[in-house]
């Protein structure tokens, strides 16, 4: 009897797994993280719109994103000014024109919080994300939104909330609301892996 029951459980679990893409009810963070962690690299274009109180109108920038698991992220801004940002582990290199800045993420916790939210999501590293944020998931596998709310005072001083929206294992947009009222919205579109 017990055996039969557990066999049934196993079977239904398998069925659930197979059909989970269409069953929002069984959709959870672990599932999302697992799916995200399967893609080892990615190439996408982005358009980012920043709304800053200091400025009369939002500023827009665009370019490409390149990601290699687990922690290498490159953001190549093409407009309005060519700029390259490369994060590899704890090292951050920003190139602007002739200038090259080498920074350590640990020295810039505000920046680290931003970058880690994106990197952690792309890598599907729930543990890493939960070090800084409290996670909540909405929607279905076909269209999900992961919300990150800082869990420590230091990050709360800078970020109030991050919303990452996606389709299946692809991140489509990142919305960041800063504590000072400024915000940014980044639209991401997948490109063929180069």
């Amino acid at each position: 009897m017990t055996l039969l029951k557990s066999r049934f459980a196993l079977l239904s679990l398998t069925l659930l797994l197979c059909s989970s893409l269409s069953h929002a009810a069984n959709w959870d963070i672990d599932q999302l993280m697992h799916n995200l962690s399967l893609s080892r690299s990615g190439h996408a274009s982005f358009v980012e719109k920043k709304t800053i109180a200091l400025l009369d109108q939002p500023i827009e920038s665009s370019g490409e994103l390149l990601y290699t698991a687990p922690d290498r992220l490159e953001k190549r801004t093409i407009k309005p000014k060519a700029e390259n940002m490369l994060v590899d582990g704890d090292n951050l290199v920003i190139e602007r024109g002739k200038q090259k800045y080498h920074l350590q993420l640990q020295d810039y916790p505000e920046l680290a919080a931003f970058i880690d939210s994106i990197r952690g999501t792309l890598a599907g590293d729930r543990k890493a994300l939960e070090r800084t944020y409290q996670l909540s998931l909405e929607g279905s596998a076909a269209s999900w939104t992961l919300q990150l709310v800082p869990n420590n005072a230091r990050t709360q001083q800078v970020i109030s909330r991050i919303r990452i929206a996606g389709v299946r294992d692809e991140v489509r947009s990142i919305d960041i609301a800063q504590t000072d009222g400024d915000s940014s919205h980044m639209q991401i579109e997948k490109l063929a892996t180069p």
């Binding site: 000014k81 200038q99 640990q106 920046l111």
Partner: protein
Amino acid sequence: MKFTASRFAITVWLIFLLGCGAIISRSQFTADLSAFLPRSPTPAQQLLLEQIHDGLASRLILVGIAGADAPARARISKQLAQQLRQNNQFISVNNGEPVTAEQDHAYWFNHRYLLSATITPERFTVAGLHNAISDSIDLLASPAGLLVKAMLPHDPTGEMVQLLTQFSNSRPPALSDGAWASHDGSRALLLIQTHASGSNTDAQQLAMTQIEQAYQQAAGTHTATRLEMTGPGVFSVKSRNTIKAQVSLLSVISVGLIATLLLLVYRSPTALILGFLPVISGALAGIAAVSLGFGTVHGITLGFGTALIGEAVDYSIYLFVQSEHRQHELWIKRYWPTIQLGVLTSIAGFASLLFSGFPGLAQLGLYSIAGLITAAAVTRYVLPHLLPDNFHIHDVSAIGHKLSRLEQNAPKLRWPAAGILLLALIIVVQNHEHIWDDKISSLSPVSKADIALDTQLRADSGAPDVRYLVVISDTTQEAVLRASEQIAKVLQEQVELGGLGSFDSPSHYLPSVASQRARQASLPAAELLQANLANAVQGLPIQANRLTPFLADVASARNQPLLQASDLHDTSMAMAVDALLIHHGTDWRALLPLTALPNTEINAEHIRAALRSHALPNVSLVDMTQESNQLYSSYLHEAILLSLGGLVAVIALLFAVFRSPMRVLRILAPLAAAVITVTAGLVIFGHALTILHLIGLLLVVAIGSNYALFFERNADATAIAPRTLASMFFANLTTVAGFGLLAFSDVSILQAMGMTVAPGVILALIYSAIFARNTHAEN
């Protein structure tokens, strides 16, 4: 009458010893690098000396904490740093913790309009402001925008970004758990700057002890971690300790060994003690003479003195063994002239060293001359008076006869010996290109393991390896700062062209008064700036009223007092300015250290050409490594010339005495053969010859000449006396014992001398016996 003469001799001797003792008791002893630095330096060498003695790099102690795990190492690093920061022995203790970050930031921010090179009148025109603000807005859009957003209302023209750009060229070590860690993550790193200069060995030793104590406290007793320290000061302390320990150990063993040897020969403790009197007198006279002549006595000179025990003891051996039945008068008549000539040839050889610009060599020369004259004179004039009436030593005639038989057969070895000599000559000639080692590092008493650790920690920490410096000299601080600003422009071009990684300049932190005034004068009055700003933001997504803090900051910067060196106090840049801006007598000097791009070398000629094209006076690029190697290489050449001069002096002396080219040739031939064979031996075993090997060869000639003279002198007589042979044999043994011990030393300089002299004197004796004109053999 004789009684009075002996009493007179002994009294003079005792007074002499007391005098030497008095001088030595007031002598200073050192063991730093000073023995290897020039007495009359060129300006570039002067700079090198100052850097070695007192420069920024000389005060650096690199600390590594290895073992255990990263969090444990970081914890120890932080506790260690915290303790040391409270100690005024240390100017700075850096382990990556942001202890001065706030002060540094405040210095840059509060003085940005005096510090930034972009501040010109054009910057504050409508167009200038428009462009600068537009750039800042672009920066806001970038990931780094987050970092500048808060500053923008105060600094819309981005002066802070300009300033930070200048200093972000160098890469600090990686952080691990909030403290610096090596690239491979195996150790925590700290960079410590001592207050005392690197040449103050006592203070450096104290600093090391304090670091060690603080580490013990931070790490606790049961720790899996270990402390590693390196740096110029650490090297000085370590080599001083090594030299000290080695010299005392070698002296003790050497005296013990020679005493045992002599006791076996003499079988008389009285003879042993008396035999050491000339040695002790010679050593005291040598140290006293060096102290009088040079002011300080170097540890290396003492180490060398240890070896000379083996040589000075020879004279008493000759006296005891050669004089039969207390017939000292006869000994003086028969043998003293030969020994005297031997002493004179040694002195002729060493005298040339006195002219060396290398204080270490000159000290050795003076020590040897004073020591040998004293030892010989005491043997000749004092020792015979001290011998008790019942004085006798063990009969050595049995050994003498055995040696005599060997000696008679020695000429049979002429052909094999000639063969070996020819082979040696071929080896020397074939390798003549690379016999000499002309790098100064070959003299360093620092062990290879210590150098490897130093290289490792430097690579990990990005500590300055001050090799290339642009040096600017002038009479005022303002003049050198102005020149630094011009040179900085030239160097910045080189950085942008990719010929240079980065550079530092005191003008980065403390601009010249002229530049500061010019920048201040560029700042427009409040009304004008307000009007310009209102026009400048036209077409930009920002309202002028957002930037009121900017107007206020510029207004206050217009009346800001100009920056002085004292304003840097409490920032991490204070130390840099201190090291890069040097006040020396009536002279001011600015140093601009250059850093190569990773894995590349700086093209010095290229930089020199760039500097020359701007035709700035009193500016030069100094290559420290090349400068020090050149210095040593010039010493080496000088020493080779001096040794040749010494050789000429020896030949001239022998000519003056013998007036026969053939006889002089016969004396010199075995010595030359010994020198060639030893050189070939060193080459075969892969030793490049340093200046100390050369001195060793000179010693082989000086000591060997005694043997050659005995064989030559006695060639006139029917046969060389067995006693004479025995005395030479014993003298040779003691010399080999004394110098042979040096070959086992860890101090490369002493080792070089030992491995040259010990085989050299044995060969000199054997070659002398083989090639002696022995009439009796044919009888």
